[in-house]
Symmetry: none
Subunit: 195 residues, 4 copies
Amino acid sequence: MVKLQKSVDKRNALIKATIELVNNNGFHATPMSKIAKMAHVSPATIYLYFENKQDLVNKTYIDVKTAYTNYAFANYNEDMSVKEGFEFIWKRIADFKLNECEHAMFLAQCDNSPMIDEQSRKEGIKHLQPLLDLWERGKKEGVIKPMSDYLLYAYAINPLSFLMMSEKRGAIKLDQSQIENAYQAAWSSIKIAPI
Amino acid sequence: MVKLQKSVDKRNALIKATIELVNNNGFHATPMSKIAKMAHVSPATIYLYFENKQDLVNKTYIDVKTAYTNYAFANYNEDMSVKEGFEFIWKRIADFKLNECEHAMFLAQCDNSPMIDEQSRKEGIKHLQPLLDLWERGKKEGVIKPMSDYLLYAYAINPLSFLMMSEKRGAIKLDQSQIENAYQAAWSSIKIAPI
Amino acid sequence: MVKLQKSVDKRNALIKATIELVNNNGFHATPMSKIAKMAHVSPATIYLYFENKQDLVNKTYIDVKTAYTNYAFANYNEDMSVKEGFEFIWKRIADFKLNECEHAMFLAQCDNSPMIDEQSRKEGIKHLQPLLDLWERGKKEGVIKPMSDYLLYAYAINPLSFLMMSEKRGAIKLDQSQIENAYQAAWSSIKIAPI
Amino acid sequence: MVKLQKSVDKRNALIKATIELVNNNGFHATPMSKIAKMAHVSPATIYLYFENKQDLVNKTYIDVKTAYTNYAFANYNEDMSVKEGFEFIWKRIADFKLNECEHAMFLAQCDNSPMIDEQSRKEGIKHLQPLLDLWERGKKEGVIKPMSDYLLYAYAINPLSFLMMSEKRGAIKLDQSQIENAYQAAWSSIKIAPI
DNA sequence: CATGAATGAGGATTCATTCAT
DNA sequence: TATGAATGAATCCTCATTCAT
């Protein structure tokens, strides 16, 4: 059975439409027909690219999560010191969350609602490994607090989601100096304080 | 027992059912009929207590948010030092998020999706004032970093949501020592480090 | 079983409310609860005065129809000549249709839709007898065309309903001279023309 | 037979079903599901052809009104004398009202209840122009009474609606001689009597 | 591969009517 | 007599999905 002719453009358009519409309306308030319309495609066509609606969001989630981690670790190399490496990665992530905020919002919504398969959720976590490795090294070197990765992530990375959502809602405007403050807070929370 | 007025019990049962079902299925995947059934009430009865589905979640959100802040500031008094006060409030909030996790999850989902009216969202924020006052004092005394309240909240408080969700999903188990670690991370992120 | 205490005022208020609401929204778009509200009465109270919604409109119809014919024949006496008698009755009816247009509109809607029981419809027709008698006399005297009563009514009386609706809708404004024209048209249509 | 477009047949079946059911039960007592069933279509399909229930009746009304006027003026030409022209048109209208009485009843119900948009009502009136032109000519020639078009319509045409409803209800049977009587009554009411 | 038409199942909401007081 | 609360049975409409082309 030959099936290779599917257009990547159409798939991408569908993923893009899904992100935008789910961001604005939520998963269940986003009809397939609207996604189709926004992607300039017939509703029936969606089913050539995805099994069903659940599959569509799952795949979208994984796509976006992958883009997120790719972005985070682009140009990162493991020769950096722990502090340098963390700052590098943190700022990449900050860049992503604040500039690609459509994507970041989508992830935030997925991560806080039951709309994604457990399966796909796990799939999405995989790619953070370089950061976890860095923290592992940091713990060994006595630079990073010996806490579970979840705790480290909760304090070092996750706050950016909250800040991004707040900015998106117009509650705050994040300028460079505030980003720097955020970075310092993140680093303070996980580094081992000098005596 | 005379009973002629609309019953508070029914209202509460509806709110409770809404929280549980929305937590498990999300707003739009929760039919009014299921909420009614779980509250042992006819679907039509919901409309005696709430205008419509949107109103029901909005009111639920405000109720839960109010319970949250009430819990957070119970027994708190402003005579405490900034450090003491922060620890007191933080631990109350941690208690709430980890023990009343049904409520905490509901808030997390609301805060990260477009399912709540902007109006009700604002209503819900009001009650954090004592914490903001404490921070204000802390900044004046040179104990708390001079950052915007949103930044302070993002690092000092919000990570608890992430941890709660992670525990709920079974990814981690938070014992007392991890809570203590979390507290230290929170405090480190916002306090002014001694020279 | 004693049951005499029912208030005529409440019954009237309900009838009045029914007329107004049905005029504006139609029978089925008029909920009992709205009728109750407009009559300053509980929904349950309606059922003390009427069996059900159908009974309420039926009774309303008969009430209004009776008021209509009472009005039409008030002060009419059979000693008048056919021409005089007809003019007298016609002008009373015109008065009613144009001044009590709430009532007239209600009748028009009932007469052209299936919202009234056949039973009540027949009940409502009874009271036109004096006009039919007059026409009978007119036919004998060779003044009125020897046509069926329905035809006479269709041309002599019914057009007033159309004019009333048109005026109500703002399409026309009926002044005295137009009423006079209408009367002449009505009379022309049923009288036997002189050779 | 290629068939890819929305089918005119289905639209027609829906319009037909609407007329029949609304005639028998009234607008609000006619559920979309019954209309669908009678048209051998799924309820959801209705919404491919009409925006909603209101739109469905509006469109039905316009369709029927158009059929009515088309029928009325078919083969009419303006060379006829006023008297001839009026008789021609009147008899066409009588034919329509008495033979296509499903359509005529539907129009009568619409015209006497608030179930049709003001917008659509206006739309429906447009097409009577040839008759109005004829009357205009008649007034100039001194053949037709110088009354407003509404008055002329009320006496010359509208009584047919009343007669049709009466026949439909079984109150009368209209034979050819009665039609002729009706025509004479109509003409008498609007013509200028010879001295 | 692509599509517009079609649909059955389901959901929010309304409403005539009844119940408990 | 009078009522406000309560409800089950509709009703309109939407939507994920499939079908015919």
